[in-house]
Subunit: 307 residues, 2 copies
């Protein structure tokens, strides 16, 4: 289908994203060799059993040796430590990228360790599911998804073009963005929704007047839509919150301000204000459907198939 | 499939719920005759064109004449006016029910008008989609959904049994609940999620630093999950907010309190607290899947089918 883009690719971290990368690289033949590293011996053993790569190591430095492309897929809080560990073993001319959901922090953590002659191109594939770990990956994860690069000034054009070719071969569409803007955009389209989802599930779980079994039994009336996001990987999301703090706090403040105003309208029975807001939000949904980001088919949550 | 449960059923209001009822009653032969009333001549004409009933009127009083079951499917704020209008035309021995999302308010509005000898049994099918109007209905809407009754003290057993038989024939499972408890349960499983969804979509739409087209383009990373709820019928949701005020304000206060605490953890970098919350919420999702309320298949929003 596609052809070799890099001779050897090293995958540092082999969770949902890393293991999906391993699978699509193998499926489309994008590399001659895949080396895999993860800190946990248990996770590494799982990756080995799944046959995700050609070599396996708990040492990131060992895995990156001779690699033409290194993809770091770890919780964003671990980026600096990984960069430090692999710095001395990176091949001159190699490309180093990551998949982190926050970019300013990852750049601040990794850039100081990147040796002269290595092309560091920060990246973020907007792809994932609510499952995590090496078993959760699948080769189609990146299909029709966006991958955003936030290149540093003076980035090598050829290296950038090759990394673009790689992600396009994985099925994604590549976008270029400034790191600060990336962090603001993601704060509103991804980070805030996840935080709100975690929060509402937590609130529901703490009620004395409504039991958990009632919440679960009647969850199809709206609540269920939030629980999927709130089942996402806790380590990843802790790190996102800690490493995109400013943009997230800004979005949270605005959200809370708007919610206070909505709450006031409910308390004082301001029906016109409620109606205006509830009408106004409809056009956003319409635009999302028009942009092909969701289907217009009616849906009240997914109904499990009957056996 | 099923048989006649009521000779004549009057449907007051012919939106998503009313028109879905018309379709399932016809499909399963649950009545000999369906009369339809709605205030809007235009909506009535649409219902007529769709062939949803046997007779059509803009007068609710006319439609309920001789009806054995009257189902009021209007925004909850209009319940009182409808009850007043039909009171003098209800057949002795008839059953009067509704489908409103709030029960204490609907009962307070309707009960005073219900004549002696008419069985008023408040009901709430937990079913709907983000679409509205007579064209949006379909006969399977109530399949495998809950329908909650909040009967008044002294409710006639036979009338309740017959209404139960009717909803079961529509495919639903019937539950009995106290009206105040119903309003609290729905406030957390349905009303709060919708309000939060409307609010976050509103917040995103108001940003100066991130454009609307960016929000839409990258919406698959979490935001999209909220937009479906935020596309629901504005009139219905305005009325829900105004008529379940106390329970909604209670849930909103708790949600905001929890969110302030979460925001503080982000601001002060309390990773352990974030990790605990994000881990804790996972079991709710697991329980929902175990209860058959959603599937475990990974999903990152629905992907539109390619042509």
């Amino acid at each position: 289908m596609s052809g070799i883009v890099y001779d050897k690719i090293a995958l540092i971290g082999i969770g949902l994203i890393g293991s999906s990368l391993a699978r699509v690289i193998r499926q489309k033949g994008l590399a001659r060799e895949i080396s895999i590293a993860t800190r946990s011996a248990e996770t590494l053993e799982t990756a080995r059993k799944l046959g995700l790569g050609d070599s396996y190591s708990t040492s990131s430095a060992a895995a990156v040796t001779d690699a033409d492309l290194v993809i770091v897929s770890v919780p964003v809080g671990a980026s600096g430590a990984v960069a430090k560990e692999i710095a001395g073993s990176l091949k001159p001319g190699a490309t180093l990228t990551d998949v982190g959901s926050t970019k300013a922090s990852v750049i601040a953590q990794m850039e100081p360790h990147v040796p002269e002659g290595v092309h560091f191109i920060p990246g973020h594939p907007l792809a994932g599911t609510e499952h995590s770990g090496p078993e959760a990956g699948f080769p189609e994860l990146f299909e029709n998804k966006w991958c955003i690069f936030t290149p540093l000034p003076g980035t090598d054009e050829a290296a950038l073009a090759k990394l673009t070719e790689f992600w396009e071969a994985c099925g994604s569409q590549v976008d270029i963005m400034d790191k600060a803007h990336h962090d603001k955009v993601l704060a509103i389209v991804s980070h805030l929704p996840h935080i709100i989802a975690y929060n509402i599930v937590g609130t529901a779980d703490d009620l004395e007047t409504v039991t958990e079994s009632e919440v679960i039994k009647y969850s199809a009336s709206g609540f269920r839509d939030f629980t999927r996001l709130a089942a996402s990987d806790p380590t990843m999301w802790r790190d996102v919150c800690l490493h995109n703090k400013d943009a997230i706090l800004e979005m949270l403040s605005r959200f809370s301000e708007d919610l206070a105003s909505l709450q006031r309208a409910i308390r004082w029975g301001d029906g016109d204000k409620l109606f205006d807001l509830f009408t106004h939000t409809r056009h956003v949904r319409r635009s999302i459907i028009e942009a092909g980001q969701d289907t217009a088919a009616p849906d009240f949550g997914r109904v499990p198939k009957k056996d």
